[in-house]
């Protein structure tokens, strides 16, 4: 089914449509959330929160405001970051700026069921460090251009073009 149709069915509280969207995006959200919280159980908890929130706030989505994926991504990043600020999150190791998604690909052994075919791990290792940094901040952490420019200490105008080049590299590797 076309994405738009699926999303509008979801907005009318259609459980099947919800499940299809979940199948499409849950791995991605799980990756983003886990990258922020770095704990399996907490990631699972946040996953539940995120998809419950998405269900209850389905009305607030409109294609004018952006992609459905991006909308979900926003909810996921915010929920995960909120979690790291909550009282029950007691892990001193958590430092959002210093951990990039790349080390999950390097250390986790079981990440790769669905994605193994693409061999994304070996691709990502080929991406330049400056690329994984910027992709991590913009997509996994939801930084604005300004915040990314401050963190990476590069001019704000460079963020947009560098990110474009990096995503192009990624796309070439994935053949997209």
């Amino acid at each position: 089914m076309e994405l738009n149709a699926l999303v509008s069915k979801f907005q009318q509280k259609d459980g099947k449509a919800f499940e299809s969207l979940y199948d499409m995006y849950s791995e991605s959200m799980h990756g983003v959330i886990y990258n922020i919280v770095r704990d399996h159980d907490i990631a699972q908890e946040v996953m539940q929160d995120v998809f419950l929130k998405a269900w209850h706030n389905a009305d607030s989505y409109s294609s004018k405001k952006g992609r459905f994926f991006t909308w979900l991504l926003n909810i996921a990043r915010n929920a995960a970051i909120d979690k790291t600020r909550s009282k029950d999150f007691k892990n001193a190791r958590k430092n959002l700026d210093s951990e990039f998604f790349v080390d999950i690909l390097e250390t986790e052994e079981n990440y790769s069921r669905a994605t193994d075919g693409i061999g994304i791990k070996s691709f990502v290792n080929k991406l330049a460090a400056k690329c994984t940094e910027i992709i991590d901040l913009l997509y996994f952490k939801g930084f604005t251009q300004k915040e990314a420019s401050k963190t990476l200490k590069i001019p704000i105008g460079t963020i947009k073009t560098r990110n474009r080049n990096c995503i192009n590299e990624l796309r070439q590797m994935l053949g997209v």
């Binding site: 979940y22 990756g31 539940q48 419950l52 004018k64 991006t70 990440y111 994304i120 996994f140 947009k160």
Partner: protein, 268 residues
């Protein structure tokens, strides 16, 4: 607008990241409706990001769905009526069972209601967060606009329209010059996005003989939302010009790349 340039600007990548303002999101959305190649590009960017982020997933997330689903069906009827045996037919037994049943049903109902209320509170809290964010954004936008209006209304302001030149007759810009505080406010909304590695440079000009003085480059042109730039100008300018220069700017203006120019009307 040159669609390839638009695609190459990197705005679509930021769109998928969710790093654009509400207004920019709407613009991209309209471009997608208008140009199939923009739509196509966004889908490809999104698909690469979906794959990449999914690769960081530490375990099979499909296994979480059943519990999410069951949480959403909290209202399912869970109370079963216990049949009362007729054989023990004393009214005390009956009333005892009835009381227990009523208490049981009431308890289940209360627990359900509590869960529903908790769920509702969460929904309302999320909505509140979203609204607060919007209000904050609107307030800061408003403050910025008010500030601009106050600047432009100042009686010391001289307006200098800059006309498009051969290279791009469509281009235009406006300079608002406050001679009291030696600042110009350059409205560069009418200039196209500069190509990669290039930057707009602003010049103050004296006419005879023609002497250009650089006022600096618009390094954050692409990222500035309202495209209005405040630039210090201590010069006794007779005209203003904008040229496209290699990143970092040039010593003297490249006249073939002169985008707009305008003469100060009545220098008082």
């Amino acid at each position: 607008m040159d669609i390839n340039e638009y695609i190459a600007s990197g705005i679509l990548e930021l769109y998928v990241a969710g790093a654009l303002s509400e207004k920019e999101n709407e613009e991209v959305h309209n471009m997608m409706l208008q140009y199939p190649e923009v739509h196509e590009e966004v889908l490809k960017i999104e698909s690469s990001i979906v794959s990449l982020t999914a690769a960081a997933s530490p375990s099979d997330s499909k296994q979480f769905f059943p519990s999410i689903k069951s949480k959403l069906h909290l209202q399912d009827e869970t109370s079963k009526v216990i049949p009362i045996k007729r054989s023990r037919s004393s009214w005390i037994t009956y009333s005892g069972w009835a009381a227990a049943l009523i208490a049981g049903i009431a308890l289940i109902y209360t627990v359900n209601e509590l869960d529903n209320l908790k769920e509702e509170i969460q929904v309302v809290e999320t909505n509140n967060d979203i609204l607060e964010e919007q209000i904050e954004k609107a307030n800061s936008d408003l403050a910025e606009v008010k500030n601009l209006v106050a600047i432009l209304r100042d009686k010391n302001i001289i307006t200098v329209p800059l006309q498009g030149q051969q290279i791009n007759p469509e281009a235009y810009a406006k300079v608002y010059w406050n001679r009291k505080d030696d600042n110009i406010y350059l409205d560069a909304q009418g200039l196209p996005e500069p190509p990669r590695g290039k930057v707009y440079q602003v010049w103050s000009l004296k006419m005879s003989p023609l002497t250009p003085t650089s006022l600096g480059t618009l390094d954050d042109f692409s990222t500035d939302d309202n495209k209005i730039f405040r630039i210090a100008n201590p010069n006794d300018s007779e005209a203003f010009g904008i040229t496209l220069e290699p990143a970092g700017g040039s010593e003297t203006p490249t006249m073939e790349q002169l985008f707009t120019i305008g003469v100060v009307a009545a220098a008082s």
